[in-house]
Every structure is written in C-alpha cells, then in structure tokens.
C-alpha cells in the first residue's frame, strides 16, 4: 500500500499552535484518509503527516434514499438525482438507496487534504488575505506526495508541489522524491522534523553540559521554537549572582527561554549560526537584562526595605480603598485578630514594601519574593522574611500552602482584605467575570483553614476589616458581610463531602471555616448510622411541623406540659441540649450527633401520642416552642433538612 506525505509549510508557528496541530492531526487523517500507521511532524515552519499503508481506494459508501414504502412516489426522483436508473436502487433496513463505489485514493486525496488544512483549529488565528483562510500564521507552501507521485491540490490560492524547504537560512528549497523520504530529505537540509527527536537532542545536549534546571518548564516550548537545535552554554558576570535567585532565573527563562546552570552560567538552544558568535550575542542580551535588573536592585537596596515601606502611602492599592500603606495597616490588625505573633505582625507591616521597589515593576510576578529578599538583606528574622515570601500562597487551586505559621496567617489576612475591599467597593465577581481572582482567593482561604489548620472566622474578620476601612475613610459603597457566604460556598467543591452536607453544615452553630468543614465531613461519615437517623428524625419532624407554624411561645413553660410523652421529650431535651452544645463547641461532632440522637425516639413518641395543634392556644404555643427548641438544639449540627434521605 502506498505512503502519503502532506506538509503544510508555514511562516513561524507559535509553540502553542504546533501543539494544537499535533493534537489534531492524527484524528484528522484517521477520519478522512484512513490508514492506521503514520507519523505527525510538527515544528515552527511545518505541520506534516506521513501515512504509510494508505488504503488504495476509499471505502464504498451507502447513500440512503427515501423509505421503501414511498417507492412509487420518490424512487424515480432520487434515482434521477443520482444519475442511475430505478432498477439500480437497493433496499437496506427499509430504505431505498445506492452503494456508491469507493474511488482510487489519488482521486480522493486532494479534497481530503484540503479538508485537513481547513479543519485544523487554532486558539488564535489570522488572515493574511482579506476573507481568506484563517490559520495560525500564513501558509506559504504545500507539499503532497503519494509515494513518488506529486498530488496536486490548491488551498487558499496555494498550489501543492513536490518541494519543501530546509533550514530557513542554510537549507533552501529541496525536492521530496518519495513520500517515505520526507524526514531524511529534511535532515539533509538541516531540519529535524520529528518533535520527539528534537526533544531528545535538546535533553542530550543539556545533559552533556550538566547541572541544568528548568523551573519554569520552558523545554516544552523550546522543542517547537527550533528546527535545527544546537544546545549552547554561556556565562555572565558573577556580580549578578547577588540578585535574588528568582530574579536571575526569571530574567533567563521568562523571555529568553534559557536554562539556568550552576554558578554564573546558562544554557540555551539555538537554531543555527556560528556557535561562538551566537553565544557572545546571547551573553550580551542576558547581561543586558540582568544589568537592567541589577540597576533596579541596587537602587532598591540602597533605599532599604524600611524606606520602601514608607513610600507606600503614595501608591494606590485600589482606587477608593486607599494606599498600600493603608492596606499594610489593615493587614497588621488582621494578623493580630488571627492570633498571629510578633513575626506575623512584622511581616504584615513590611508585606507590601516591595510594591515600591523598582525591581517589582520589572518583574511583577516576583512580588513577595523580592520583598522577602530585601527583608533578609536588612537582617530581619527568617520567620518574617519567609512570611513575606509566602503571602500570595496558594497561588492556584491546588498550589502549595505557606510552610510557616506566620506565612499562613499573613496569607489569610491578605485574602480577607482583598475580598472585603472588593465587596465593600461593589466589585463582586459576576458570572464568569472575576478579574481580581476573588474566587481563587476564597478557595485559598478554605484551604488555609482546612489543610493549614488555621482558625478563620470569616464573618468576624470581615467586620473588623470593614471597620478599619471606614476609619481610613475608604469609599465604602456596599456591605461586605456576604464575603462569609461567598467563602463558605467554595467549601462545597473542596471537601470529601457531598454538596448537601456542606450546605447543611454551613447552617450549624459553628462559623469558623475549618469547623464547618469538619462538621460537613462528620455528617457525611455518620450519614448511614442509626444515630444519625435518630438525630435527623428529631430535627426533621419538629422542623416540618413547627418550622412553618405561627404562634409558638417565646419560652418553654414546663408547667403547661401534661402529656407523658411531652414530659419525656422535655426531659430528654434538657439533658441532650447542653451536651450537644458542649460537644459542638469542642468540635466533637460524633459526640454531638450521639447526643442529638437521643432525641429521636422521644420525638417519634411525642408525634405518636401528642396532638400539637390542640384547641388550647397556650398549650399549643408551648408545644410548638418545645419542637422549635428540639430543632434548634439538633440544629447546632446544621440544617439537616438539606440532606436528602
């Protein structure tokens, strides 16, 4: 069976587009051309596929016509449309139709290849002629070979041929004699077309140099930035090593896609050129970037972190919520509220100092790291410095939490303040719009409580923060109290508990985030026990009757109780209620459930034997009160009616 090569020659594709094409191509050829065996080649200047063992003919196709019972009416028309006679029509599964024989692959392939070009989808695409084909970057040539034969097709004004192009500056135009020769033809023209082979060559080159690192993971991009990888190493002035390590690494990786090596050295992957010349040029570029950073670093360090912190009153945090100095003042109060000690307070005072640093203006992603480094240089205790460094953690839904207690405290205060400010200034996230990442901040808070073990009473902290904002004369336009609900809602997706259990727990007597989480998990764990069932019944039956009824007495009056079942319930309630309360306060939720369970049988008996809605209005009011008291006692465990039974 023949081999088919198809190459789409492009101006330099972004790495992301290469990966998109790579992910789609195999599927495209399987659904159009068929043939199981083959390879996909993707690089900056080409997207290609080589299918070996292409079927010689396309499969026969069943073209379905009208249902058989409409033969008299419709068969003739259908046959005429397909240019066959009625006698040629067959019947399958109750329908008239026609087997359209497959075509030789040569005939079918041009349109299939065109469909592949037009079918590739890119996240970002462009036109290079008005109304023309959209592609990641302009297509400049097409090469299509079925074994030795050149397949002719035209897409968007580009005609296919038998030529490809080697390395842009050294390879030139080359002929592909046979489809199977594609990769070797390109290798001879200075191009390694196979992405995995390029990756292997790059890794091999880096390993030969040794001691390389890739903290930002640029290798996955570099594989698609070169066709002719040459791994080279360069060095830079050692004085730049006094820069914070993250700054040096970011200067290397974020824009230049270099790999840090030990000491004042770096590796990079070139796509050609004379190695000595190319190394010298790249060294100059990196030294320029590091020189730029060092220039800012020296000016920042000459000022020192205290002086930077003093500049914060002239830097706006959020319009309407004052300066970063105001923010730092709030953070200091909040860490106190969170039980943070001296290190937390000192870290909060200096947390935002690096917002005044020139280096942060150049490397905004390194806020926190730079502040921490400046605090270290100023001789602050490591607990303070690492808390400054960790204040933005976790920075993603499953990113690591701060490692230190002061770090967790400061990170919590930071999120509480961001949420309170946004809600107080009427900048709540709506729908998919959450430009300041408030949902992520709320998830971070939940994780700091659940995994970090920090006691976080959101409502209380928000009130404290709001008071501070008002004192600072912030332009408060909204009540931020619903921050607490906003945060608690995030628990729903985080815990090992169904949503309904989390919702139930949120209505319980505990408000601290971690406690709500524990309660939800305890309810989930006990849900199928008999005890839980009793507690549930006590809550549910009393709530169903009394929850909606009017006219309950203000307080329970035992002297109005006459019935034995009623007296029994009052007695059990009197014993169970304080035990539930105490257990919940100690976060002994299984104990609380056990205590609440004791109310189940007396509630059942009460409903069997006592008529609540009796004629005597004072007795009725008292019985309703009794049921409400039962519900509220068990309700310390949450709104159990949320839980489906």
């Amino acid at each position: 069976m023949p081999s088919l090569l198809f190459e789409i020659g492009c101006e330099e594709l972004p790495a992301s587009a290469c990966r998109e094409a790579e992910a789609q191509l195999r599927e495209r050829w399987l659904t159009t051309i068929g043939g199981e065996q083959g390879d996909v080649f993707v690089g900056p200047r080409r997207i290609a596929l080589l299918v070996t063992e292409v079927p010689e003919r396309t499969p026969d196709e069943w073209l379905q016509g009208p249902p058989e019972h409409l033969r008299e009416k419709a068969a003739e028309g259908f046959a005429r449309k397909q240019s066959v006679s009625v006698d040629d029509l067959e019947v399958r599964e109750g329908f008239l139709g026609l087997v359209v024989p497959g075509r030789p692959i040569e005939e079918a392939v041009p349109e299939q290849l065109e469909a592949i070009v037009r079918g590739l989808a890119f996240g970002k695409s462009m036109a290079w002629e008005r109304g023309g084909l959209r592609f990641s970057r302009p297509i400049r040539w097409l090469c299509a070979k079925l074994d030795k034969k050149t397949i002719e097709l035209e897409v968007a004004g580009i005609r296919s041929g038998h030529l490809t192009f080697g390395h842009r500056f050294t390879g030139g135009e080359v002929e592909v004699p046979r489809a199977d020769d594609y990769a070797e033809t390109l290798r001879a023209a200075g191009v390694e077309p196979e992405q995995e082979e390029r990756r292997r060559l790059i890794l091999e080159g880096l390993d030969e140099i040794g001691g390389w690192r890739d903290p930002a993971g640029v290798i996955d991009e570099v594989v698609y930035l070169v066709e002719s990888p040459a791994v080279l190493a360069g060095s830079f002035d050692e004085r730049f090593l006094e820069l914070p390590q993250r700054v040096v690494e970011t200067a290397m990786q974020s824009h230049q896609r270099y790999f840090p090596l030990e000491g004042a050295r770096f590796a990079f992957v070139a796509n050609g050129g004379d190695p000595a010349t190319v190394i010298a040029g790249n060294e100059r570029v990196l030294e320029g970037r590091l020189g730029d950073a060092h220039f800012s670093f020296e000016r920042d360090v000459a000022k020192g972190i205290e002086a930077l912190a003093e500049e914060l009153d002239s830097i706006t945090f959020v319009a309407g919520a004052g300066s970063f100095a105001d923010k730092a003042a709030r953070l200091q109060e909040l860490v106190g509220e969170l039980g943070g000690g001296e290190a937390s307070r000192e870290a909060a005072r200096l947390a935002k100092a690096d917002q005044a640093a020139e280096l942060v203006r150049e490397f905004p992603d390194l806020e926190g790291h730079i502040g921490a480094e400046y605090a270290r240089l100023a001789g602050f205790p490591e607990a303070v410095c690492s808390a400054i460094e960790e204040q933005y953690l976790p920075d993603s839904a499953d990113g690591p939490l701060p490692h230190t207690e002061p770090g967790r405290v400061l990170a919590t205060a930071e999120r509480i303040d961001n949420l309170t400010v946004a809600f107080a200034l009427s900048q709540r996230p709506t729908g998919s719009r959450d430009p300041s990442g408030l949902r992520r901040a709320a998830i971070g808070l939940c994780r700091l409580a659940v995994e970090g073990g920090l006691a976080i009473n959101v409502a209380q902290l928000v009130q404290r923060d709001l008071a501070l904002l008002v004192e600072q004369q912030a332009e408060v336009t909204d009540d931020p109290s619903d921050v607490a609900d906003f945060v608690l809602e995030r628990l729903e997706g985080l815990l090992n508990a169904p949503v309904e259990f989390v919702r139930a727990a949120r209505a319980g007597a505990v408000t601290e985030l971690g406690a709500v989480a524990q309660l939800a998990e305890a309810l989930t764990a006990q849900a199928s026990t008999e005890e839980f069932e009793h507690a549930y019944v006590a809550f549910d039956r009393s709530n169903r009757l009394a929850g909606k009824a009017d006219g309950a007495a203000g307080t329970l009056d035992s002297s109005l109780a006459t019935d034995e079942a009623e007296l029994a319930l009052i007695e059990t309630l009197g014993q169970a209620s304080p035990r539930i309360e105490a257990a919940v306060a100690e976060r002994d939720f299984p104990g609380a459930i056990a205590a609440a369970a004791e109310l189940g049988p007396p509630v059942d008996r009460f409903f069997d034997e006592v008529l609540v809605m009796t004629e005597d209005s004072s007795v009725r009011a008292n019985r309703l009160r009794l049921l409400l008291d039962v519900r509220d006692a068990v309700g310390a465990l949450g709104d159990l009616s949320q839980i489906p039974r």
């Binding site: 101006e11 330099e12 972004p14 790495a15 992301s16 900056p44 970002k124 462009m126 036109a127 290079w128 002629e129 008005r130 970057r137 302009p138 400049r140 842009r168 500056f169 050294t170 930035l225 070169v226 230049q256 990079f268 070139a270 796509n271 050609g272 050129g273 004379d274 010349t277 190319v278 010298a280 040029g281 790249n282 100059r284 570029v285 990196l286 030294e287 320029g288 020189g291 730029d292 220039f295 002239s314 706006t316 959020v318 319009a319």
Partner: protein, 291 residues
C-alpha cells in the same frame, strides 16, 4: 550597495534601511510632528492601512513613552527612542524574505547568526488595533517587531498589511557590539549619548515631576471635544491629530501617577472610541469621490 566592512554608525544604519526600502518601492516618509508612542500611531500607518488602496511606506519615528524615562541613568530605558517603521500593504507572499534581506543590507550575516521569529501578538488598546506576528531575535536580541494587522480602529481591514518595526537602538547595539545605547556611535565623533543624554534627563524630570496634571486633564478633555467636533465636520485628518494628542496627554498623566488602575481603563476606552470614530470617517471619505 557597498557592504560595510566595519560596524555602521547609527546614521549609516538608518541610511542603509532607507536605501533598502526605497529600492523596495516604499514611499519614504518623515517622522510625524505630533508625539506618538510608536510608528503605528503615525497616520502614514494607522490611516493608510485602512481602505482598499495599496500602500508601501518606510520612515524613522521617534517613540515618545514618558513612563519609560529613567533620567538617563539606565542604559536600556528611555522616554524617547527611535523606530524604523515599514508598512507593506498588502503584505507580499515573500515579505519575510524581504525583511531578512534588509538585515543583510545593514550588515548582518544570516548564516553566521541565529535569527529567530518568536511569537508576539500585538495589541494597541488605545487604537482598537491588534495583529499577530513575532519578535525577531538575532542571537537572542529582539531587534524588530513584525505584525500582520488584523484590525485597526476596531475595523476589519480590506488588505492585510505587514508592519515591520525595527528598534533602532537595539539593532545598532547589536551591530556595534555596545552594552549601552548611550555609547552607540551616532556619527563619527558623536555618540547617541552626546546627542540625547541631556534630553533624557530633562524630559524625565518633566514627565515624572513637572508635567501639569490638572492642565493635562483639561487638555485631554479639550482634545477629546475637538476631535468629536472635527469628526462632525468630516475632517478626519485633523481629527486624528486630536486622538494622538489625547493619547499623549494620557501617557503623561500615567507617568505622573495621576491615573488609578480603574481610571486607566476608562481613559484608554475614551481614546479608543475617538480612534474608531476617526477610522470610520476616514473610510467613508475614501469611498466618496473628493469634492
């Protein structure tokens, strides 16, 4: 053309680019007379790229970016630097080869160096403009931005232009092997620093410390109103200058730290609305025969 044996001076490099692009059939324009942040803002690019008429131009453009000033203390950052701007509308199929030949024209041996095209998508929010393209690196140094415009003034384009913006200081630093723009040889006996150091210092003081905030806010509003009035009178070219003046006033206010994050978006939106109105008017005027 004579191949330069030693590194070209700054002005020789510019002369080589002028000669090269003139030979390619470009109209050589001169810098625009109103402050612009990039050559794209020059009406020879922004307006001429609208409409169905082919256009080829090349020119030096001083880029005025007040926030980038560093009082002449920093060898890499300036409130004024120079771009060499080339527009080819429509972009020819071999546009990249023509660009690479221009690098050879200034003395870069393409076989000896590592010349790379690295994805860089461009967006000009104040102009309602975007395009896809690359940064072009020579041995890791970004010397040019290359963009296929897709929209200008929020409008689709009749012909897709290629915009080639050389960073002249970076290109010269590469050619002359210099670590600071101030050390570049501008002409024999004169460095870039000799010509512009004091300019950087004084303008940095003006941009960051002296530019009058209240007056600039008033001016912004005045230029905005004038632009609207001129659009009403169907005078797209004078109206466009008012867009540029608004944009520059905004840049100065930004340098003075007078614009908060939230206000920023609103200022940018106001400039963009003006740019769009002018672009629409300009297109209409192209469609009507001149009176």
């Amino acid at each position: 053309m004579v191949r330069l044996m030693s590194a070209p001076t700054y002005q020789e490099m510019i002369a080589s680019l002028e000669r090269y692009w003139a030979d390619e059939g470009c109209v050589l324009m001169q810098p625009y007379h109103t402050e612009v942040g990039a050559g794209t803002f020059n009406p020879a690019t922004f307006l001429r790229c609208l409409g169905p008429e082919p256009w080829k131009t090349a020119y030096v453009e001083p880029s005025i970016r007040p926030t980038d000033g560093r009082y002449a203390d920093n060898p890499f950052r300036f409130q004024q630097f120079f771009q060499y701007q080339v527009v080819l509308k429509p972009s020819p199929d071999d546009v990249l080869d023509r660009y690479f030949a221009s690098l050879e024209a200034v003395g870069i041996d393409l076989q000896k160096h590592d010349v790379r095209l690295v994805e860089d998508d461009w967006e000009g929010p104040t102009l309602g403009a975007w395009g896809l393209g690359w940064e072009i690196w020579v041995d890791g140094m970004e010397v040019t931005q290359f963009t296929y415009f897709q929209q200008l003034g929020g409008l689709e384009l009749d012909l897709i232009p290629a915009e080639i913006s050389y960073g002249l200081e970076r290109l010269a630093m590469f050619l002359q092997n210099k670590r600071s723009a101030f050390e570049l040889e501008w002409a024999p006996g004169f460095t870039w620093g000799d010509v512009y150091r004091e300019n950087e210092r004084q303008w940095s003081i003006y941009n960051f410390e002296e530019a009058p905030v209240d007056a600039l806010m008033r001016r912004f509003a005045d230029h905005e109103a004038e632009c609207r009035a001129l659009v009403e009178r169907s005078l797209s070219l004078p109206a466009y200058d008012q867009v540029l003046k608004c944009s520059h006033a905004f840049n100065l206010l930004d340098a003075r730290g007078a614009i908060s994050v939230t206000e920023r978006a609103s200022y940018i939106g106001r400039v963009r609305n003006l740019a769009r109105a002018v672009a629409e008017l300009y297109l209409e005027s192209l469609a009507e025969p001149a009176v």
